[in-house]
């Protein structure tokens, strides 16, 4: 099992937790990872960074001790819908890296796919963006007007809020994290996802009351965190809505109320749109299969 992919490992962890076989740690429940059989030489050669992390941050030595581990969110499989050149549907807007969904991940990211996303598709996106910029003149006045509008929103809307008795940024962020982990975590079901959607709505209301301490226009990290949280709420809602519509289980998306893969209906990318009224609309776009059709996954161990 230790050689299995991340999603399987996380699911196994949940299984252990249900059976009450996890251990209480300061930051949640953990299981122990045992590397001791590898010996010092192999660990230093193949896993030097793991040993360094354990020593520095847990004050344990994996050569002699067990490593406490638990699943966490590590990477976004989805993202902004882009083509092979990182181009979004908005002319002139390009995305690369974890932000972009270049679709090399499928329903579960393989280790080091992030490297491909950066080195290969990042380079492609950069070239394409440069090409676009070379081929286009100054932005039209309408773009400038949008920029001014956005700046107005930042200054008036975000920086201009009252500091009185407001909600703290960090508490909304932490509650969003808790919601996403419990409602859209390793195992999902309809009731949980619906509850998650309404919790995010509530968080969005609370976010409107968040007051920033920092009014500066110089390296205002709190403003950046605020804008980021605003986006996180959108991303969270997108995940919850897409997961709700996808009534099957596949890769890292496991529905306890819809187990098993359903290629007839869901061999497709989920595309999430914001409606006029602010709600999400999910559409499915069939996967273009070229060389390798998706097959049943088998792992040893």
């Amino acid at each position: 099992m230790e050689l299995g992919p991340r999603d399987r490992l996380s699911q196994a962890f949940e299984g252990e937790r249900e059976k009450g076989r996890t251990i209480e740690g300061p930051y949640g429940e953990v299981v122990h990872l045992d590397l001791r059989h590898l010996g010092e030489k192999v660990i230093d050669e193949k896993l030097p960074f793991v040993r360094e992390l354990c020593r520095k941050y847990e004050k344990i030595d994996p050569v002699e001790e067990l490593i406490p581990v638990r699943p966490v969110v590590h990477y976004m499989i989805g993202g902004i819908d882009v083509d092979m050149d990182g181009a979004t549907s908005l002319a002139g807007l390009y995305a690369a890296g974890e932000t972009a969904c270049i679709n090399i991940n499928g329903a579960n990211r393989l280790g080091s796919n992030s490297l491909t996303a950066l080195l290969v598709f990042g380079a492609r996106a950069g070239r394409a963006a440069a090409e676009f910029a070379r081929g286009s003149g100054d932005p039209p006045r309408s773009v400038l007007a949008q920029a001014l509008e956005e700046e107005e929103r930042l200054h008036g809307g975000v920086l201009g809020r009252s500091t009185e008795g407001g909600e703290r940024l960090a508490s909304v962020r932490e509650d969003l994290l808790a919601t996403m982990e419990s409602r859209a975590g390793i195992f999902r079901d309809e009731a949980g996802l619906r509850a998650g959607i309404s919790e995010v709505e509530e968080l969005r209301r609370r976010f409107a009351d968040v007051a920033l301490d920092d009014r500066s226009l110089t390296f205002n990290t709190e403003l950046a965190h605020g804008l980021e949280l605003e986006n996180l709420l959108d991303v969270g809602e997108t995940i919850l809505c897409s997961a709700l519509e996808r009534t099957e289980s596949r890769g890292s998306h496991q529905r306890t109320d819809h187990s098993g893969r359903n290629d007839a209906d869901f061999l497709a990318h989920s595309l999430c749109y914001r409606e006029e009224d602010g709600s999400c609309r999910v559409e499915f776009e069939p996967v273009t299969i070229t060389r390798w059709p998706p097959a049943e996954r088998h792992y040893g161990g």
Partner: protein, 250 residues
């Protein structure tokens, strides 16, 4: 023995250019937790006490290199510095030395970003081979020749520790030279001559007087000081060789 400490005092450098022309120190009393790093305490301040405190951080595991600050006078990664080791406090937190301060604990690293490409930290081939020629293989020994230098995370602690860089900001600096060496020593690379034009000129390796502090503070054991001294040896040998062979540009 019971733990006598339940809070710790942070003395934090604040610089708010828009409202106060002079920097000042602000003290925060934060709860003490045994497994907290300095960065955890700063995050506590930002989340719970004063959201306007500005500093950089990202990975919290000593990989991204963005949370470097001066803690009690020493340049450190705040995500890898236990508060426990600094008790009883107060803990003084300053921005990294040698960089102009934009705001609070945030330095302007533009200088390094401008210097880095000058040493061409990428593989330079005499001839680019076609993709179908396959991989360029290396033996473990060949990788071992430069591996140490490839560990650099650009955290800038070495620049902050370097008194020469602090006083002579044109000095190309420890990390840039170590990264140049990372490629000079790579068996796939043919760019050593191009890099020498930068490294062996004014404000290249010769500004360094081997204080050695860069290697002391490096969180990744890159040993930039060693890289610089070794490069001095290389550049010197090359210079003498160029004397013997006048046809070659020195």
């Amino acid at each position: 023995m019971e733990n006598a400490v339940d809070t710790v005092t942070l003395k934090v450098f604040r610089y708010r250019p828009e409202t106060a022309p002079e920097p000042e120190y602000e003290t925060f009393e934060v709860p003490y937790q045994e497994d907290w790093m300095v960065l955890d305490a700063l995050n506590h301040v930002k989340d719970e006490m004063d959201g306007s405190l500005s500093y950089r951080w990202s990975c919290r595991m000593g990989v991204c290199g963005s949370c470097g600050m001066t803690v009690n006078g020493e340049p450190v990664l705040t995500c890898a510095t236990y508060i426990e080791d600094l008790l009883p406090g107060p803990i003084r937190i300053d921005p990294l030395r040698g960089f102009p301060v934009i705001r609070d604990l945030v330095g302007d690293l533009g200088d390094f970003m401008a210097k880095l490409p000058r040493v061409k930290p990428w593989i330079i081939r005499k001839e680019e081979e076609p993709l179908d020629a396959g991989e360029t293989l290396q033996t473990p020994e060949e990788v071992g020749a430069f591996r140490q230098y490839s560990m650099c995370i650009n955290c800038m602690l070495c620049y902050a520790a370097c008194p020469i860089y602090e006083m002579e900001p044109d000095f190309i600096g420890p990390a840039a030279i170590a990264l140049a060496q990372r490629y000079n020593l790579d068996s796939r690379d043919h760019g050593a001559d191009e890099r020498m034009d930068v490294l062996s000129r004014k404000h290249g390796v010769w500004d360094c007087t081997f204080v050695g502090e860069c290697s002391v503070v490096c969180p990744k054991d890159v040993d930039p000081a060693g890289a610089i001294q070794r490069y001095k040896v290389t550049a010197t040998m090359d210079w003498f060789r160029s004397l013997l062979r006048p046809g070659r540009s020195g």
